[in-house]
Symmetry: C2
Subunit: 190 residues, 2 copies
């Protein structure tokens, strides 16, 4: 998606060998016009799939998911909540998600009330790298009996294996910008 | 706002003497159509104020803020990040926020890059009770030299003192639904 790629090249900052900081428009300050265009593009790529629910994870996925829903007839958005402790109860579905960036594992949770067998779910998130978050979401969505139709990502680190792990489960991945590599402190997009 | 009040009475659940659970449409599952109407209503109540930025706090405020921005010409939304530790650095503004619900204090943070003296800020949040979150946001926004024009709240607990504490700083509060009291396990709205 040209608009997002141009924005990454203009405002993205490479802060460590492999870290792209996009808090200017994606995950701290939010560019609402850009996210609307991203939502339209997700809708174009997942049309005719009869998606009836969007699932994301707090906090960075929420704005993209909420604005994207508008191009899917305002279907419900559910955001998984992160919790530090592993206390579980029988009213929620749970998954463990390991963050390589932060080096810690956390538990994510969605109430059983908001997922069911009729759901055809699009997972939305800001980044895809090793796929831990998306796979955690997919596992708890499947536990509910719902179907994961696809994963829509703003920025994918194309040199990591998240996409292949998700594809291996028969789930389609659509990313709006794919990082090919980092070179001399700059990001090279595919 | 009638639409929100009706939704609270229909789908809100009182789980403890003083806790209203609205995760069906506000802070776990998101009703995007309803939030768009809330955004229109905030725009109506804060028109002619030349607001040019919306600030909220992760995670529950993000969807309301992002959708509301659309009725303010897609102005930037900035969400404050919560962090467990009190590590500070000179690239961010910080505030301490005590949560009476959770019984813990947390640090919130906004990058200095995303607040400046020209900003006329509307703070948006899902709940207002004792006002800790809104006052924390207001203090770090003021530290940047920006002006806090108002606070827009989805659901206010009218029997707590958040509104009066915010008003005491000369800041206007607009809430779309105000809880008068809880009675016999039911919520009574003003």
């Amino acid at each position: 998606m040209k608009l997002l790629k141009d924005k990454i090249l203009k405002d993205g900052i490479v802060i460590e060998p492999n870290i792209l900081k996009v808090d200017n428009f994606l995950n701290h300050q939010i560019d609402v016009s850009l996210m609307n265009e991203m939502g339209k593009e997700f809708a174009r790529r997942f049309k005719n799939e009869n998606i009836n629910k969007i699932v994301t994870i707090e906090a960075s996925g929420i704005a993209i998911a909420a604005l994207t829903s508008q191009y899917f007839n305002n279907i419900p958005v559910v955001f998984a909540k992160k919790q530090a402790s592993k206390i579980t109860d029988d009213t929620s579905y749970f998954a463990e998600v390991f963050s390589f960036t932060k080096g810690i594992s956390s538990t994510i949770r969605i109430s059983k009330k908001y997922l069911n067998e009729e759901d055809r779910v699009l997972i939305i998130d800001d980044f895809l790298a090793n796929g831990e978050a998306a796979l955690g979401l997919a596992s708890l969505i499947k536990e509910s009996g719902a179907t994961v139709i696809g994963v829509g990502i703003a920025i994918e680190k194309g040199f990591q294996d998240g996409r292949s792990k998700i594809n291996a489960q028969g789930i389609k991945v659509e990313s709006l910008a794919i990082i090919d590599k980092f070179e001399d402190g700059k990001v090279i997009l595919k």
